[in-house]
């Protein structure tokens, strides 16, 4: 399978995302100004500070030409994974419900957190078991998820681990159809024993398994 990782001006985690995706399949970089998704099976909107996060985090990136293609790709059922700033971009683009607010602490948080898989039935978590714990780092200032409507929660911070004050300890959500997923923690930084945890691989392996099934059908 082939992953596509978007690079915006101001992205900073696209190289790690690319390396993580390559542990599960092929991966290519997609430039924000291009309209060609290069036939990828899944799109990753990576972390960073797209377009300087001017106005609000993710608010400008959603107007990138490539995002029009991503929206169309998502409408057709394509898998889209937004990590950190990518999650913010997907919310601003209304591909996911809700919004990200500044952390309650008003501080940048950077630490390893324990996550609990709330929904193991999504294409992004199918390699996990319900309730499974994943150790993955977070690093953000604007990660307090808020949504006035009920949402499909995929990942929660384990009790006592919520780093940003998000509603209901939400760490990651998907859309109703389940093909667009956003999370604040960084699975792409937890794929090598060198950095303490390989739990993030579960996300990339889940995507690979989902795409393999789809191709088989």
């Amino acid at each position: 399978m082939k992953f596509g990782v978007i690079r915006f001006p101001g992205s900073c985690d696209e190289v790690d995302a690319l390396a993580a995706a390559r542990r599960a399949g092929e991966a290519v970089l997609l430039w924000h100004g291009d309209r060609d998704l290069q036939g990828v099976d899944a799109v990753i909107v990576p972390g960073g500070f797209s377009y300087g996060d001017y106005l609000r985090a993710g608010a400008i990136a959603r107007f990138a030409p490539v995002m029009e293609e991503v929206a169309e790709f998502a409408r057709e059922g394509g898998l889209v994974l937004g990590i950190c700033n990518g999650f913010q971009v997907l919310c601003e683009a209304r591909l996911l419900p809700g919004a990200l607010l500044p952390n309650t602490s008003l501080r940048f948080v950077f630490r390893q957190v324990e996550l609990e898989v709330a929904d193991a039935g999504t294409p992004f978590t199918r390699a996990c078991t319900p309730g499974q714990r994943l150790s993955v780092p977070v690093k953000h200032t604007t990660g307090r998820y808020y949504c006035p409507e009920p949402v499909r929660v995929v990942l929660r911070y384990a009790p006592g681990q919520n780093p940003n004050g998000s509603h209901d300890d939400i760490a990651g959500v998907c859309n109703e159809a389940g093909n667009v997923f956003g999370l604040m923690p960084h699975p792409e930084h937890a794929v090598d024993p060198l950095t303490g945890s390989t739990d993030g691989l579960k996300i990339f392996e889940s995507i690979r398994a989902h795409v393999a099934d789809r191709v088989a059908v």
Binding site: L55, E92, L101, P102, N103, T104, Y146, P148, G165
Partner: protein, 80 residues
């Protein structure tokens, strides 16, 4: 026309910036301050002010978490 858009956190949404400032003021001896909220000020020159609400809904504010107030004819302030 010069217009001004004031964007602030929606009522009911925790505003830690406002709270931090509210707690800081008494430390300087200013008492009796409450309800502090911190938002954004956007000044812009527009040909058609009728478009302002749409601009706010679609870009200048995120209506899910923010409310906005449009001040038309903010020309009293000299352009920089």
């Amino acid at each position: 026309m010069r217009a001004r858009v004031l964007v602030r956190p929606k009522r009911g949404i925790l505003d830690p910036q406002g709270q931090a400032v509210e707690r800081a003021l008494p430390a300087l001896g200013f008492s009796g301050v409450s309800g502090v909220h911190i938002g954004r000020l956007i000044e812009l020159e527009v040909e058609d002010p009728a478009q302002l609400p749409d601009m706010c809904e679609r870009l200048l504010a995120n209506p899910l978490i923010e409310e906005y107030e449009i001040v038309e004819d903010a020309s009293v302030e000299a352009p920089r």
